[in-house]
C-alpha cells in the first residue's frame, strides 16, 4: 500500500483495498467523498488561488465599466478613479446617438463571425484531419505547407494586392471573412487533437465494415473530436469578433465596418487629433461632443460583453465529464 502522502486521499487507498478504512474521524468523514476528487482542503486552496486569478482578470473589466459611467470632466481632472467623483451617462448617450452605426456594425460583426467561423472550422478540420491520417501519402508535405505560412507571410502590401486587385474584394464583406479563414496554428492544434483522440483500430473496424471515409469522418471522428473542434470554433469566433485591422485595410464603406474596427477608429481618431492639435482645433465642431475616455470605455463594454457571454456556450465542451460517446479500448 502506498504511503499516505500529504493531501493524499485515504479513500483512494480504501477503494483499492475494497473496504472502507476505519479508525480516526478524518477517514470516517471521507467515507462519502467521490474518490475521483481532490482533498477538500486542497480544493479550497486551489479555489481561492484561482479565484484571485479570476478576480485580477475581471477587475480591470469592472473598472472599464465604472469608467464608462464616469463624467468626462472628472476623468480629465482626476484621471481614472475607482469611485468617480462624478457619475454620468454621457458616454452611453453618445453611443446611443450613433445607434444606427452601432447596430449596423453589430450586424456586420455577427455575420462575419458566424459565417467566418463555419467556413473556417470546415476548412481547417478537413485539412487537419487529412494530414493526421497515416494513410495519406502527402501528409508531411501538406503539414509543412501549412506550417511554413505561420512563419513567413507575404507582408501587408502584397496581401493587399491579392485581395483587392486579384480577387477584387475591396469594400466587400468577403474581404472581412476570407483573409482570416485559414490559420496554420489552428490546423496544427486540430491535427494534434485528431492524432490523439482517434485511434486507428476503430477506424479500421469501420472500414472493414464497409464505411466510406466521409462516413467515418462525420459519424465517428466528428463526435469524438468535439472538444478540439469546439476549441477551434472558439478561437475562430474570437478571432473574427476581435479583428479590426482587416476592415481598416479593405473597407471604406461605413456600412461594412465591424464593431471592433469602430472602436479602434474612434480610438485612432482621437489619437490623431491629440497628435495634430492644430487640426483638432479647426475641426472642433467635430470633436466637441465626444466624451473621449468614457466613450472609449463604453464601446469596450458593448463590444466585449456579447462575446464574453457567449463563451459559456463553448465551455460545455471543456468541462470534463462530458465526453461524447466514449469509446473504450
Amino acid at each position: 500500500m502506498a504511503k499516505l502522502e500529504r493531501n493524499e486521499s485515504p479513500v483512494v487507498i480504501s477503494s483499492s483495498l475494497g473496504e472502507m478504512k476505519g479508525g480516526g474521524t478524518k477517514v470516517v468523514r471521507k467515507k462519502h467523498r467521490d474518490p475521483q476528487h481532490m482533498h477538500p482542503v486542497v480544493n479550497a486552496i486551489i479555489s481561492v488561488l484561482l479565484g484571485i486569478l479570476a478576480f485580477t482578470c475581471i477587475f480591470p473589466f469592472i473598472y472599464v465599466i465604472i469608467i464608462s459611467f464616469t463624467s468626462e470632466e472628472s476623468i480629465v481632472r482626476n484621471g481614472f478613479q475607482l469611485i468617480p467623483k462624478e457619475w454620468s451617462l454621457d458616454a452611453y448617450h453618445y453611443l446611443w446617438s450613433m445607434k444606427e452605426q452601432l447596430f449596423r456594425s453589430y450586424g456586420v460583426t455577427i455575420f462575419i463571425t458566424i459565417v467566418g467561423t463555419i467556413i473556417s472550422v470546415l476548412m481547417i478540420t478537413f485539412y487537419a484531419y487529412a494530414i493526421s491520417r497515416p494513410q495519406f501519402k502527402y501528409r508531411k508535405f501538406f503539414t509543412f505547407l501549412a506550417f511554413f505560412t505561420m512563419l513567413f507571410s507575404g507582408g501587408l502590401v502584397p496581401t493587399y494586392i491579392v485581395v483587392t486587385q486579384f480577387l477584387g474584394l475591396k469594400d466587400t464583406i468577403w474581404a472581412l471573412i476570407l483573409p482570416l479563414t485559414m490559420n496554420a496554428f489552428y490546423i496544427i492544434i486540430m491535427r494534434t487533437f485528431f492524432l490523439k483522440s482517434v485511434s486507428e483500430s476503430i477506424l479500421e473496424s469501420a472500414r472493414i465494415d464497409g464505411a466510406s471515409e466521409w462516413r467515418i469522418f462525420f459519424q465517428i471522428i466528428f463526435p469524438l473530436s468535439l472538444p478540439g473542434i469546439a476549441t477551434i470554433a472558439l478561437f475562430s469566433t474570437l478571432g473574427y469578433w476581435n479583428d479590426w485591422f482587416t476592415a481598416l485595410l479593405y473597407i471604406d464603406d461605413p456600412n461594412l465596418v465591424p464593431l471592433q474596427s469602430l472602436l479602434m477608429k474612434i480610438e485612432a481618431n482621437l489619437e490623431f487629433m491629440r497628435q495634430n492639435l492644430d487640426v483638432a482645433i479647426m475641426q472642433q465642431s467635430l470633436f466637441d461632443t465626444i466624451p473621449e475616455e468614457s466613450a472609449k470605455m463604453a464601446m469596450v463594454v458593448i463590444a466585449t460583453l456579447p462575446i464574453a457571454i457567449s463563451y459559456p456556450f463553448f465551455q460545455k465542451y471543456f468541462i470534463s465529464g462530458l465526453t461524447i460517446g466514449g469509446v473504450k479500448e
Binding site: 476528487h37 486551489i46 476548412m123 507571410s153 502584397p158 496554428f185 468541462i319 473504450k328
Partner: protein, 309 residues
C-alpha cells in the same frame, strides 16, 4: 507518371479534403510571399502598378538589413526580444497547463466555469486599454501602487522611469493577458482524456497528484511540445502593444522594453521605407524558421511522434 496518378487516386479523399485549404494557402499566403523580395530592393513606385514597381526597383542587397545590426541598440533589442520570449515560452507553458489542470480538477464545476470565463477577459482588452490599467496602478501621482506604498511610509516610486522593475511587470502582464486563452487548448485536451486511465491509476493507488503526473501530463505532452515548437518559431516576434503601449513609450525604459518590433516601428517613423520593414520581417521569420527546423529535428530524434513534421 502513371505512378503519380495512381497515388492521387488512392489518396483522392484526402486530397479533396485538403483542397479548399490549400487553395486558400496558395492565394493568401504563398502568392503574397513574393513580396518578400522587397527586402532587398529600394522601393520606387512605377505607374504601371505594383509588379512593375517591384521589378523596376533597384536591387540593394543587404542594405535594408543594416539598421538591424549596426548599433549598440541593435544588440539590446535582440537580447530583449530573445530573453523575453524564452521566459514567455517557459512561464507561459507552465501557467497555461497548470491553470487548465487546476480548473479541470475543481470539484465545483460551476465555479470552474465562472473562473474560466473570467480569466479569458483580459484577452479582449486591447493593450491600449490595458496600458491605462497599468497606468492607474503605476502612475506616480495617483497610482494605486504608490498609494499602497504610502500606507507603509515607503517613498513613491517613479515607475515609468525605473527600468529595473519592468522585466517583472512585462512578464506579469503577458501572463495576465495570455493565460486565459492559453489554457483553453489544454482544457479541451484534458476533456478528451479517457476516464479509464484515471480509474486504472486510482486502482493502483495513485494520489491526485500522481494521477496528474502520470496520466494528465503525459497526455498533454504532444500538445505542449507542438505549441512550444510553434512558439519557438516566433521567438523574434513580439506583442507590439505590450512593449509599446504598456510602458507608455517611455524613453527611460527603452533598455528593457525596446524589442525588435518596437525598434523597427520607431526607426521607420521618419523614413516610411517599405524595404526596411520587409527586411525586418524577413529577418524575424528566417531566424524563427531555422530555430524551428532545429528544434523539430531534435524532437524527432527523441520522439518521432511528437514532432511537428
Amino acid at each position: 507518371m502513371k505512378g503519380i496518378l495512381k497515388d492521387i487516386y488512392k489518396n483522392r479523399v484526402w486530397l479533396l479534403m485538403i483542397l479548399p485549404g490549400t487553395i486558400w494557402l496558395l492565394l493568401f499566403s504563398y502568392l503574397p510571399m513574393f513580396g518578400q523580395v522587397l527586402a532587398f530592393k529600394k522601393f520606387r513606385i512605377d505607374p504601371d502598378g505594383f509588379f512593375a514597381s517591384v521589378i523596376n526597383s533597384e536591387w540593394v542587397g543587404w542594405d535594408n538589413f543594416k539598421y538591424l545590426f549596426s548599433t549598440n541598440d541593435a544588440w539590446i533589442i535582440t537580447r530583449n526580444t530573445l530573453i523575453y520570449n524564452l521566459i514567455f515560452i517557459v512561464v507561459g507553458l507552465i501557467a497555461a497547463v497548470a491553470t487548465a489542470i487546476l480548473l479541470s480538477e475543481l470539484i465545483n464545476k460551476r465555479l470552474s466555469k465562472v473562473y474560466q470565463t473570467s480569466i479569458l477577459f483580459p484577452h479582449f482588452i486591447s493593450w491600449v486599454i490595458g496600458s491605462y490599467f497599468v497606468f492607474t496602478f503605476l502612475s506616480t501621482e495617483h497610482g494605486l501602487l504608490n498609494q499602497f506604498l504610502g500606507w507603509f511610509n515607503i517613498d513613491s516610486i517613479s515607475w515609468y522611469n525605473e527600468s529595473k522593475y519592468w522585466p517583472f511587470i512585462i512578464v506579469f502582464m503577458s501572463l495576465w493577458k495570455g493565460v486565459g486563452y492559453g489554457s483553453i487548448v489544454y482544457l479541451a485536451s484534458i476533456v478528451g482524456i479517457d476516464r479509464t486511465y484515471y480509474e486504472a491509476a486510482m486502482i493502483d493507488g495513485a494520489s491526485k497528484w500522481k494521477q496528474i503526473k502520470h496520466v494528465t501530463l503525459p497526455m498533454l505532452k504532444p500538445l505542449m511540445i507542438i505549441l512550444t515548437i510553434m512558439n519557438i518559431g516566433r521567438i523574434f516576434n513580439s506583442d507590439f502593444g505590450l512593449f509599446y503601449q504598456v510602458p507608455r513609450d517611455s524613453g527611460a525604459l527603452y533598455s528593457v522594453t525596446n524589442v525588435i518590433d518596437t525598434y523597427v516601428y520607431r526607426g521607420l517613423m521618419n523614413l516610411g521605407d517599405i524595404g526596411m520593414s520587409t527586411a525586418a520581417g524577413l529577418y524575424q521569420s528566417a531566424v524563427g524558421f531555422i530555430l524551428v527546423i532545429i528544434t523539430n529535428y531534435i524532437v524527432r530524434k527523441v520522439d518521432e511522434e511528437s514532432a511537428l513534421f
